[in-house]
Symmetry: C2
Subunit: 146 residues, 2 copies
Amino acid sequence: MKKSDKISWSGCPVRYAAGVFGDKWCFVLLRDILLHGKRYYGEFAASEEGISTNILADRLSRLEGDDMLTRHVDPNKRSKVFYLPTRKARALLPAFLGMMVWSTEFDDKTAAPASFAKAFRENPKAAIAWYEAEIDRVNAGLELSS
Amino acid sequence: MKKSDKISWSGCPVRYAAGVFGDKWCFVLLRDILLHGKRYYGEFAASEEGISTNILADRLSRLEGDDMLTRHVDPNKRSKVFYLPTRKARALLPAFLGMMVWSTEFDDKTAAPASFAKAFRENPKAAIAWYEAEIDRVNAGLELSS
DNA sequence: ATTTTCACTTGCAATTTGAAAGCACCCGGC
DNA sequence: GCCGGGTGCTTTCAAATTGCAAGTGAAAAT
């Protein structure tokens, strides 16, 4: 907390965003939560990118501290833990999908189908709503039991 | 380049984006270039956040390598250097402005005027076009002499 | 009771960062 | 030409962060 004395990483919108998720691993965690329906610690740990567990724990608690995630012990199996995206995290969807459209245009090795970018460009609100609904669907399966 | 052996940071759109600009300092450099009309090395170095020059040089060359910036020696004063955003960098504007809207909503210390978020939400294309025009305006003053 | 699953934590080497100093080139005066 | 300052990096080195591997403790499963 030395740096935040001199210049706080908020105020400027870009700086604030950088402070909250301007980091490789936060990107992939948010992707897993917002786009891939992952919720459990074990699911994050198993992601293709191979995050190590100390970093994973650190980023999860940071995101929790920044009010992006909430931590929950699974009531059906109390040795497991899941994380739910907050409204704040979900509100990132539009920007996130915008980034993805950008990637599909400029990464020549992109694995995303062209249909995604097309759909988003033609009707961004509908695309966002679709992902929102997916998030709700996944959450529903967890929130019921808690 | 060890990590890129195992999993290349492309393919997945989010991972690709994270690889190119998923870093605090890339965020603020892109902000300075896309939004604040900065072009010269000295201008970046003087930014409020106080980036140190080794990191600055590293990020500039990385962004150049990722085809986000092009480096130019100022023909009027050949000891100075400026960087121009590529089409690829400019294409990030929509996602970037989306992020800024998000920040203005969730950073309670935000310094951005509410009018910005409002304007973007009401007419995103117009807001983007306005920033595009600004970029062209700034570039025009440099490209003429080169 | 014992083993296994799970979510972390710890230890430690390696990479990255950051502050400061150094270096090389250009430019303007003299 | 030569000197002094401006400019864009590069180097140095300590400090912070990362990443791998092993460890821990609580809960389930056997």
